[in-house]
Every structure is written in structure tokens, then in C-alpha cells.
């Protein structure tokens, strides 16, 4: 090959980039399909279609129709049956129930949403998912409402940093789930303790991350602002915050990921709820296709959310890096709207002055 594929820190061509991104998903999928559809790769079990002459006694006479048994047990049973001269058992090689094939999971994407819950009182998948999103939203919102300002203050004023950060550093080593029992005792069984766990899981990390990011603000910008006459409050609101904001936004995107990791723990304390409860139920009914579908949905929701935020970022921080053509044209929309809407009235105001 003329061009080596691996080149140190050489940016990829756009085509190669998209291809690699597609492969990132397609390769694991291909591996999964290979294991699922090609029998000799794994398929360690036999799904018994006909147990043969079940009257013949033996060590392996437990096998019955529609059961999954190890290949070894199945073969030993057939030995027993053939010695007795009885009808042999029949079956097909399958993977364990916990590894459904891609098409089964794909089907579950649809059926999981359309299948009624097995028990009355249980939730549909979309209800569970919506509930989870709400838990994440509120837990993260509270953490951000407190954590962002506190982190910015810590990153700006060494005194506040020294007053807060040592203790926060200490608390953040305590895994959020250990507060589960406490949260239930204080807030009861409903959503409050779950939101609390998300809050604890993200808040302490957030303060430290935000403080660190805020400390990265270019000191030269602060000096410049000082020589331009900015006072302490103005340095904070007019320099530190706008300068750190795009980076804080990026931090926030990463921290939402943290919130998702605490979601499962949070939903399993007290009264099980949300997507985790759904997965837990489906696992008990051995509907592993639904389990996989739910897990993939969590990933998809997280990824979608992050990509939306990334896209929104190009509007929020127009001075940062070149935006995509789509973002650029969309960014023009509010300006044109404003021009169209306020053209005449603004002219009047100026005249009246």
C-alpha cells in the first residue's frame, strides 16, 4: 500500500473519518453477528427440540424439550439413549440465552416499546425511559445550579477554594451509592432519594472540575481587564465567566455522562424505577433481547443528548472555532428575524431620541 494507514497525528481525510466512525459501530456489530449466526464459532448449548425416549433412565435424563443444555450433556444423553437402543434426542446448537442474535435485539427495539408489561403496575419501556430522563434532569440540574457557581468561585478566589475544596475532595472519594440508604431514610421511597444520589454523584466532581477549568483562564486577560479599570466583581462577571464558559460547557457535557453512570444505582434504591427497573424485570423474565435493547437505548439517548449539546455549543459560543455550514446558516436566522421584526420600531426610537 502506498500510504500507510497509521500516521502519527496526521488528520484523517473527511471520507476516511466518516468511514472509520461507521466502522467503529459496524465492527462490534459484525463480531456479534459472526458469533450469533456462524454455528461453529461458539454456540456452546443445544436447544432440545425432541428429548428422545425420555423413559430411558440415566445421569442425563433431565433434558426436556425447549430447554437449553450444554453440548456435553446433550451428547452424553444421546450415548445413554443409543446404548439403550432408544430414540435419540434432537436439537439445534444455540448460544446461551443471555446472548440474543442481532436481529432479535433489533426486533426488541420495536417490541419492547409495544409489549405490555408482564405484571400489572409495571411500566412500559417508554414510561421507564422518560422517568429515567427526569431523574437525570433534576439531579443534574440541582448539581449544576449549585456546583457551577461554587466551582467558578473556587477557581476565581483562592480563599473560597481553600475553604471548600479540601472538604469536597474528601467527600468525593465516598462512592455516591453508599448514601443510598441514608437518602431513602431522609427522603422516602419516591424520586427524591434517586435525585439525591445523582446530585451527590455529580456535584462534588463538578465543583472540582469547574474550579480547575476556571483556574485555566488566561491571567493575561485578567491583567488586561485590570488595567482597563475592571473591579473585582467585573473581573468575575466580565472576564472570568465569559472566558471559562465554553470550557465549562464542555465539562458539563462530560459530567452529564457521570450522571448517567449513577442512574442505575439511584434507580435500584428504594422503590425500583425507570429504565433500570425495566432492565431488572426483563432480566428476571429472561427477555435478554429487551435487556440489550434497553442498554443500547441508554447509550443512544446519552449520545444524542451530547451531540445536541455540542451542536448547540456552536451557537452559544460563536467566537470559538469555525462552525459547520449548517450551524453557520442557522446562526443567521435569529439575526435576520430580529432585523425583520425590529427594523421599523427601532428607527422610530432613534427618531424620538
Amino acid at each position: 500500500m502506498a500510504l500507510p494507514l497509521l500516521r502519527v497525528r496526521e488528520p484523517l481525510a473527511p471520507g476516511a473519518r466518516s468511514a472509520a466512525t461507521a466502522l467503529a459501530f459496524l465492527l462490534p456489530l459484525a463480531l456479534w453477528a459472526l458469533v450469533s449466526y456462524v454455528p461453529f464459532i461458539w454456540h456452546p448449548q443445544v436447544l432440545v427440540t425432541d428429548p428422545g425416549d425420555s423413559a430411558v433412565p440415566g445421569t442425563y435424563d433431565f433434558i426436556a424439550a425447549n430447554e437449553r443444555v450444554d453440548v456435553a450433556s446433550f451428547e452424553l444423553r444421546n450415548e445413554e439413549l443409543s446404548k439403550a437402543g432408544a430414540k435419540l434426542a434432537a436439537g439445534e446448537r444455540v448460544n446461551p440465552i443471555y446472548l440474543p442474535a442481532p436481529h432479535e435485539v433489533a426486533r426488541a427495539f420495536y417490541t419492547a416499546f409495544t409489549t405490555a408489561p408482564e405484571r400489572r403496575g409495571d411500566y412500559w419501556l417508554h414510561e421507564s425511559l422518560w422517568h429515567s430522563c427526569q431523574i437525570i434532569f433534576w439531579g443534574f440540574l440541582y448539581a449544576a445550579l449549585l456546583g457551577l457557581p461554587l466551582g467558578v468561585l473556587c477557581g476565581t478566589f483562592p480563599l473560597i477554594s481553600q475553604l471548600c475544596e479540601p472538604f469536597i475532595d474528601f467527600v468525593r472519594y465516598m462512592p455516591a451509592p453508599v448514601f443510598g440508604a441514608l437518602a431513602v431514610a431522609i427522603f422516602g421511597l419516591a424520586d427524591a432519594p434517586k435525585i439525591t444520589i445523582i446530585f451527590i454523584g455529580t456535584f462534588f466532581q463538578m465543583v472540582l472540575v469547574v474550579a480547575n477549568t476556571t483556574r485555566q483562564v488566561e491571567p493575561a486577560l485578567l491583567h488586561a481587564a485590570q488595567t482597563l479599570g475592571a473591579n473585582t466583581r467585573q473581573l468575575l462577571t466580565r472576564v472570568v465567566i465569559p472566558s471559562a464558559l465554553p470550557h465549562l460547557y464542555r465539562d458539563t457535557r462530560i459530567l452529564i455522562g457521570w450522571a448517567w453512570t449513577y442512574l442505575v444505582v439511584a434507580e435500584l434504591i428504594g422503590e425500583k424505577s425507570g429504565i433500570s427497573a425495566f432492565i431488572y424485570q426483563q432480566q428476571r423474565y429472561r427477555h435478554f433481547d429487551n435487556v440489550y435493547a434497553s442498554i443500547v437505548i441508554i447509550g443512544a439517548v446519552g449520545l444524542l443528548c451530547d451531540q445536541l449539546l455540542a451542536f448547540a455549543g456552536t451557537f452559544l459560543f460563536p467566537w470559538q472555532s469555525a462552525p459547520s455550514p449548517l450551524a453557520r446558516s442557522l446562526r443567521e436566522v435569529p439575526r435576520r428575524l430580529r432585523a425583520a421584526l425590529s427594523g421599523a420600531p427601532r428607527a422610530e426610537v432613534e427618531v424620538s431620541k
Partner: protein
């Protein structure tokens, strides 16, 4: 080739230049640097960065500070701006002792310190807005300054969309929009390429000439110092102290053709001697002959 150019003494001033200096000395003192000292405590013990630095800048004067690396130029200008405090002595602005940064001492930094989240216009209005000026009035003022630096067309651009020279022009306009009593410039053209730098020097002289502006300018470029300044304060290193204050005998208005004038070369020669300890004379003139 041992032709030795006969240079006049750098102290020789034409009648016109001498008259200008005696007139400058009549003007009020804007910045009075009074026996300034700065010591740092380090692991290796106490380091004296500045010792008894003492000079004055008169109104509408252009003073450069030059010196070898380690002479404390940057420390000096940071103290003058109020970003650091002196260990001894004091800085007086129009007779008043200064402490901490304030808008009366504007500063232009070597690095581009424009606020990247503000467009060019909003960068220029930053100072007036901090002082509580209304948005409309500040905008009007900014446009006037953008005209002065010739960047009105770029008012809505973000700093990252500008070249290095343009950024520094905006930084100058931003500092001037505050109408400071003195403009401190810390190697403002140090990061620019030679051509842009030459353009910026001429531009700065023009701006300085057209308004009531006092400038203290730090540089390590000898040509730049001679070309721009009324007086040049030469610092020596270890500890940083004033070695000599030179009155530049090159008449104003200045232009780049004066770079090869005897007065210019004599001054540059003297700077070379003071800063690099060269014996000057022959070496310098030969270099000059080889030049354009």
C-alpha cells in the same frame, strides 16, 4: 574595508532638537518613578530585580525603556501598571502615589490580550463600559477609535479572525478608549514579523502625534527605541538599574529614511555599547555599510 564612518557624538543635538528637549522639560511630569526597588525571595535567596530605578516621564513624551534580558524591564512595567507592587520607592501619577492597577495607566501587552468572546468593537468599549458609560455612548467612542486605527470595517469581527498586527492595533485602541494619562506598552510589537512591525511603529507614531498621549514603551529592539522615542532609559542587569538616559538627537517628525542618518546611527551605537558592551565604532559602521 576599514572605512570608518565619522559619527557625531550621540549627545550632539541640533538647535531644533535641543529646543524641543528644553520645551519637554518644562511640561508637567506625568509619571514619576521614584527610587523604585523590587526584590524577590527565591529558593536561592534574595534576588534584586530592580534597584533605585529613578526617572520621570513628561506630558506627551515618548520614553522607551531598553536593556539586556534580565534587566527587569518587564518587572518595571508591571509595577508601573500596578500589577505588582514595588519593594521600595514609589510611582506617582500626576503627583499622586499609585497602588494597584487603574484605568489611568493603560497597558498594551506583548501577547494578544484581546477578549476572544467580544467582537472588536466590544473589546474597544470594554474600558468605558467598566467605568459605567452607556452602551450607545461607548459604541460611538469605539467607532471613533476604530477610525483612528483604521479598523472600522472589522468592528464586528472576533479577535481570532484578525492578523497579529490588527489585533495589536485593536489592543492599542482598547487602551486609548479609556483616555489614560499614560500608555504603558510592554514589547507590543515583539511577536510581529518584521514588516508588520515596521508598519505598526509608523502607525503608533502617527497616533501619538495626533493626540495628547504620553507613552512609556518597553522594547529590546534598538532601532525601534531610537525611531520612536524622545528619550531612552537604558537599564543594566543584575540588579536592574538605570544605566543612562539618552535624549535621542533625531529630529521629529520621524520617518524610516532617518535610520541611516548620523544622529540615528550614533544613538544606536551608544545603545549597543551600553547593552552589549561592544566597543562600537568600527564593528558597527561595517555592519551599517553592509546594510541596505
Amino acid at each position: 574595508m576599514s572605512t570608518q564612518l565619522q559619527l557625531p557624538s550621540y549627545k550632539a543635538q541640533s538647535a531644533e532638537v535641543a529646543a524641543r528637549f528644553s520645551e519637554i522639560k518644562q511640561r508637567p511630569v506625568v509619571l514619576d518613578i521614584d527610587r523604585l526597588g523590587k526584590t524577590f525571595e527565591s529558593t536561592k535567596g534574595r534576588i534584586t530585580a530592580l534597584k533605585d530605578v529613578d526617572f520621570r516621564v513628561h506630558r506627551k513624551e515618548f520614553v522607551s525603556v531598553i536593556g539586556p534580558s534580565g534587566c527587569g524591564k518587564s518587572t518595571l512595567i508591571r509595577i508601573l501598571a500596578g500589577l505588582e507592587s514595588p519593594s521600595n520607592g514609589e510611582v506617582r501619577l500626576d503627583g499622586e502615589r499609585t497602588s494597584g492597577p487603574c484605568k489611568d495607566r493603560g497597558m498594551v501587552f506583548q501577547g494578544y490580550t484581546l477578549f476572544p468572546w467580544l467582537c472588536v468593537r466590544d473589546n474597544v468599549t470594554f474600558g468605558p463600559r467598566m467605568a459605567g458609560m452607556s452602551k450607545a455612548k461607548a459604541k460611538e467612542k469605539a467607532e471613533a477609535w476604530l477610525d483612528v486605527i483604521g479598523l472600522r470595517k472589522f468592528a464586528d469581527h472576533y479577535p481570532d479572525q484578525l492578523s497579529g498586527g490588527m489585533k495589536q492595533r485593536v489592543a492599542i485602541a482598547r487602551a486609548l478608549a479609556n483616555e489614560p494619562r499614560i500608555l504603558l506598552m510592554d514589547e507590543p510589537f515583539g511577536a510581529l514579523d518584521a514588516q508588520t512591525r515596521a508598519g505598526m511603529q509608523s502607525h503608533l507614531i502617527k497616533v501619538w502625534d495626533s493626540i495628547d498621549l504620553t507613552i512609556l514603551f518597553i522594547t529590546h529592539d534598538l532601532d525601534e527605541a531610537v525611531y520612536l522615542s524622545d528619550r531612552i532609559v537604558v537599564l543594566a542587569a543584575h540588579p536592574g538599574r538605570v544605566q543612562e538616559v539618552i535624549e535621542v538627537p533625531v529630529p521629529r517628525p520621524r520617518d524610516r529614511s532617518q535610520f541611516l542618518s548620523p544622529a540615528f546611527l550614533a544613538t544606536k551605537n551608544r545603545l549597543e555599547e551600553l547593552i552589549y558592551g561592544s566597543t562600537g565604532g568600527e564593528h558597527m559602521t561595517e555592519m551599517t555599510h553592509a546594510g541596505p
